[in-house]
């Protein structure tokens, strides 16, 4: 799997290169600037990109801007955004375009190598990876009338993992219960929140996050 990395700090860029090479990726290019990133994407057509939110020149959200531009040029280009903090908007525009293959993870997640690699691969295959921290921030009921408050603790767990972009199989493994039990939970959640059911994991994330951000 070929990957393009955009990260301005040499220390982290070198670390990411090593980590991804070590776990069987081919690093086609590793750059430190949005312009260089767009060039690299044009040239290498990677299977997935790993992009830092903060890139020069202003270190605000150039990473997200560059990712949006790259996906405008190559629709559906899988991109995983890395961020130091969960920011309020966490690349909402990226998630909103309807194509899959988007991820938003805290940089800390690289410590859990197998989980991180699984997220990169999921995004590469057109799936979704939303950071648990970002989801947790959204999973707070606004008040007693919020339909979220009607979810049981177990349903909340399922909702959390679903919003992170995991498949039913992964949720089942993560929670240690059967897949059919997960399917039942999912259908209850969609019923309680009055959401349209969807089989695609990405559409499911979209529905769930859109609901959470309403």
């Amino acid at each position: 799997m070929r990957v393009v990395i955009a990260e301005d700090l040499a220390l982290l860029r070198d670390g990411l290169i090593r980590l991804l090479r070590d776990t069987g990726f081919e690093v086609a290019a590793a750059v430190d600037h949005p312009d260089a990133f767009l060039e690299a994407v044009d040239e290498h057509r990677p299977d997935v990109c790993v992009v830092d939110v903060r890139l020069p020149p202003t270190f605000n959200d150039e990473g997200v801007r560059a990712a949006l531009e790259a996906r405008r040029r190559i629709p559906g280009l899988p991109i995983l955004i890395l961020s130091q903090y969960v920011e309020q908007t966490f690349a909402a525009e990226l998630f909103a375009d309807g194509h899959g293959g988007v991820g938003y993870l805290l940089k800390d997640r690289v410590a859990d190598v197998s989980d991180f690699v699984a997220s990169v691969k999921r995004v590469a295959r057109g799936g979704t990876a939303l950071d648990p921290e970002a989801v947790a921030q959204l999973l707070v009921p606004a008040g007693p009338d919020d339909p979220l408050a009607a979810l049981t603790a177990r349903e909340m767990d399922v909702m959390q993992l679903m919003a992170e972009g995991r498949t039913n199989v992964a949720i089942a493994t993560g929670l240690g219960i059967s897949e059919s039990a997960i399917e039942k939970h999912v259908s209850t959640i969609f019923g309680k929140l009055d959401l349209e059911r969807s089989e695609s994991a990405h559409r499911r994330v979209l529905a769930v996050t859109a609901y959470l951000r309403r």
């Binding site: 700090l9 982290l12 670390g15 270190f59 940089k107 800390d108 690289v110 410590a111 859990d112 190598v113």
Partner: protein, 413 residues
């Protein structure tokens, strides 16, 4: 009755010198007012006259400034000056100047000084010259062409009459002194009233000044916060992420490649130590600890000693540098050394620091292969840090080397 001569003499000299200074000053004011008004009114009739009117106002202000000094001299206290702040293009500035009541109060005083003030000065000088001359008339009456001085009621053509005149002059001294006192006092007060700002204008000027300094302080504080956030983001936080990454990789590797894993753990430990050191530095007044304890010179020497590429230092660090300048200089050298170690393949680095025209100049040159990317590798962050202090960072790195990173940091506050 005890008459204290000293203060009276001092007052006499002050009043008299006010008028002696007044001779050239009032002639100047007269010239300025007449010439200025003539020019100004003429200029009003043509469009190209606008800069001319501006110049006329500038001359009025300059003259008013001189008059403020003369008044302050007679008064013994300074006469404050406050004009409305000028901004925008020249037309806008002219409008502000013309709309400033102080401009017209200045002109009123100049007109007064140029007319009545001149007469008052001439009178004061002539009167005192006559009285003092008459006082010593017995010594010189005989040198006069007609054998004496004509006082109307009598002719002082004998020694006796000369003494009589001198006695009269003696009587005239206190009278003239009191008259002159009143006149001078009146003029000086009028001058102060016209030349110093009204209470409102003075308060407005003060508010303006405070708002400006406050805005400056807020800017500085928020710039400092931004810098701290950058230091954390690029420093300790990044190191901890790298450390976590190394540990994660090591965990994966243990089963199949224990030696490789051990190496990664070793690197992780080094990274942890560096992160700890950076956090400690940040905590300690947000500056590298050696900087705080020893100052820039020793801190840079220590940095050079730790450099991965052998570094020599040529330091001529000026005394009493502002703390942010020292910190920025330190970070420039630190980043440049790190870059030289990572990318350049250099065998030697020269760090030179010295003062030049009120700026601190920091230069780091390596003998590596050059071709450094000025837009990346932390150089951009460094540029922002230097720019926050109104400084300039330049990178020269032709292919084949050498690479020079140079920062100029203005020290004047």
């Amino acid at each position: 009755m005890m008459v204290r001569m000293r203060p009276i003499l001092r007052t006499f000299w002050r009043d008299l010198s006010y008028h002696v200074l007044g001779l050239p000053a009032t002639i100047l004011a007269f010239t300025v007012v007449v010439a200025g008004l003539t020019l100004g009114v003429t200029a009003l009739t043509v469009i190209v006259g606008i800069p001319l009117i501006g110049a006329v106002f500038a001359v009025f202000r300059w003259n008013a400034r001189l008059e403020r000094r003369r008044t302050a001299w007679a008064l013994g206290t300074p006469v404050p000056e406050a004009y409305r702040p000028r901004h925008g293009n020249s037309l806008r500035r002219l409008r502000i100047v013309a709309g400033d009541p102080q401009s017209w109060k200045d002109l009123a005083w100049l007109a007064f000084a140029g007319s009545f003030g001149f007469v008052a000065s001439v009178f004061a000088i002539t009167a005192w010259a006559t009285v003092l001359g008459t006082l010593v008339l017995p010594a010189w009456y005989w040198t006069l062409p007609n054998g004496g001085a004509d006082f109307g009621l009598f002719r002082a053509d004998t020694l006796g009459k000369a003494f009589l005149a001198a006695d009269l002059a003696l009587v005239a001294i206190p009278i003239l002194f009191v008259l002159e006192r009143w006149k001078t006092e009146g003029m000086v007060r009028l001058g102060r009233a016209l030349l110093s700002p009204s209470r409102e204008a003075a308060l407005a000027a003060r508010v303006q000044e405070l708002a400006a300094t406050r805005a400056g302080a807020v800017d500085a504080a928020s710039a400092e916060l931004q810098r701290i956030e950058r230091d954390l983001h690029d420093g300790a936080q990044a190191r901890l992420v790298a450390l976590a990454m190394d540990l994660g990789l090591a965990e994966e590797r243990f089963a199949r490649d224990p030696d490789g894993a051990r190496e990664l753990v070793g690197e992780a430990r080094e990274e942890a130590k560096r992160a700890l050191a950076e956090l400690r530095d940040l905590a300690r007044g947000i500056r590298p600890s050696l900087l705080v304890e020893r100052g820039l010179g020793p801190a840079l020497t220590a940095l050079a000693a730790r450099s991965p590429v052998p570094a020599s230092v040529d330091l001529d660090v000026p005394d009493a540098l502002p703390a942010p300048i020292e910190t920025a200089a330190w970070f420039v050298v630190s980043e440049a050394l790190a870059n030289a170690g990572k990318h350049s393949g250099a065998g030697r680095v020269l760090i030179s620091v010295g003062g030049l025209d009120g700026s601190l100049v920091v230069e780091v040159t390596d003998d590596g292969r050059g071709g450094a990317d000025a837009g990346g590798d932390g150089l951009t962050g460094l540029r922002a840090r230097v720019a926050a202090l109104d400084g300039e960072l330049s990178v020269s790195s032709p292919r084949g080397g050498p690479t020079t990173i140079r920062a100029e940091l203005p020290c004047a506050s």
